[in-house]
């Protein structure tokens, strides 16, 4: 296609898209005016019904815990398929690769950052029902703590902690525990994933009932899932870079 034809095609689509966008924006409700009743109701009910201050996490892991299970298993499927597609090479081929970061200063700061990130991650997960955060966000931060070891310290150090015999069981346990907690609710004669424990005192770390367990299991599943995906990419890379495999 010639340049003129491409530009003409782009022009027509850009004008069409701009018109659709303008139409859509014009029909939006005014900024900050929330119309639906559901959010307001949840904000009023969650502190009383579930003793949770952060209603977002209350919805994610309690009221709509079943939906979150779908998201959870989606990540599990994604991590498994990445592992399935990329794992033509076993881990031990690259286990002796050492690739330290050259600057000692950045290695020191990086190691410190990894520890701080780990603490922040645990804090974000633990306070999920009190302040913004929860299992999903905290799990991702947890994975980032391990990744920063690779970024700022050394591939070998990272690989010893983030190897697949560590990350896969963590991910599987997290995802499995999420589903198992739903089944435990059945055993108590409740609906799937319905809260079956003491709700505790509003605003305490221990409040939230069995949704706390759901929260932690999702943190493990998310952290494990991210590390499995990242580890596969990295192994692939390191093997290539250090000439551990002949090119096809």
């Amino acid at each position: 296609m010639s340049r003129e034809a491409r530009l003409a095609l782009f022009g027509v689509s850009a004008v069409g898209f701009a018109a659709l966008l303008a139409w859509g924006v014009a029909e939006l409700p005014p900024f900050g005016h929330y119309a639906g009743p559901y959010g307001d109701l949840i904000a009023k009910l969650a502190p009383q019904q579930r003793h949770m201050a952060n209603t977002v996490t209350a919805v994610v892991f309690d009221y709509r815990g079943f939906d979150t299970m779908g998201e959870e298993l989606l990540l599990f499927a994604a991590a498994s398929s990445v592992a399935l597609l990329l794992r033509e090479r076993r881990e031990h081929e690259v286990e002796d690769v050492v690739e330290p970061v050259r600057s000692e200063a950045s290695a020191a700061v990086g190691a410190l950052a990894a520890v701080v990130t780990l603490v922040v991650a645990l804090d974000v997960v633990a306070h999920g029902f009190i302040t913004p955060g929860g299992g999903f966000q905290g799990g991702v931060v947890l994975a980032a703590a391990v990744m920063s070891l690779f970024l700022a310290v050394d591939y070998g150090r990272y690989a010893r902690i983030g190897k697949s015999t560590h990350t896969e069981p963590i991910e599987a346990f997290g995802a499995g525990a999420y589903v198992a907690l739903g089944l435990v609710s059945f055993a108590f004669g409740l609906a799937f994933l319905e809260n079956f424990m003491e709700l505790g005192v509003f605003g305490r770390l221990s409040s939230g009932g069995s949704a706390i367990l759901v929260n932690w299991s999702s943190a493990l599943a998310v952290a494990g899932g991210f590390l499995v995906i990242f580890g596969e990419y990295l192994q692939e890379n390191m093997a290539e870079r250090h000439g551990r495999r002949k090119l096809p």
């Binding site: 913004p132 966000q137 991702v140 931060v141 991210f226 692939e236 290539e240």
Partner: protein, 83 residues
């Protein structure tokens, strides 16, 4: 709050534009990470700290890292093919 929100929106717009206009793919990955950070600030000033937290890690670290890993792999292969 409104001036802060407008500034955050401007940064996101500028960041998005920069990502699209960058021609070098590594530069694009790094710019994307900056754009992700602008999004984090945007979520924060629009009072969605939950989303800001996840966006911080996903668009700031995880996604650019996977991108850079993929780019490094392709470059390595190209380098070897030339040898």
């Amino acid at each position: 709050m409104v001036p802060l929100q407008s500034i955050a929106l401007l940064f996101v717009a500028a960041g998005g534009l920069a990502v699209v206009l960058a021609r070098d793919i590594v530069r694009q990955a790094i710019l994307f990470s900056l754009y992700g950070f602008a999004l984090v600030v945007l979520f924060l000033v629009f009072q969605a700290p939950d989303v800001a937290l996840s966006a911080l890690v996903v668009s700031g670290i995880a996604y650019p890292l996977v991108l850079v890993a993929a780019i490094a792999r392709v470059r390595e292969r190209q380098r070897r093919e030339q040898e």
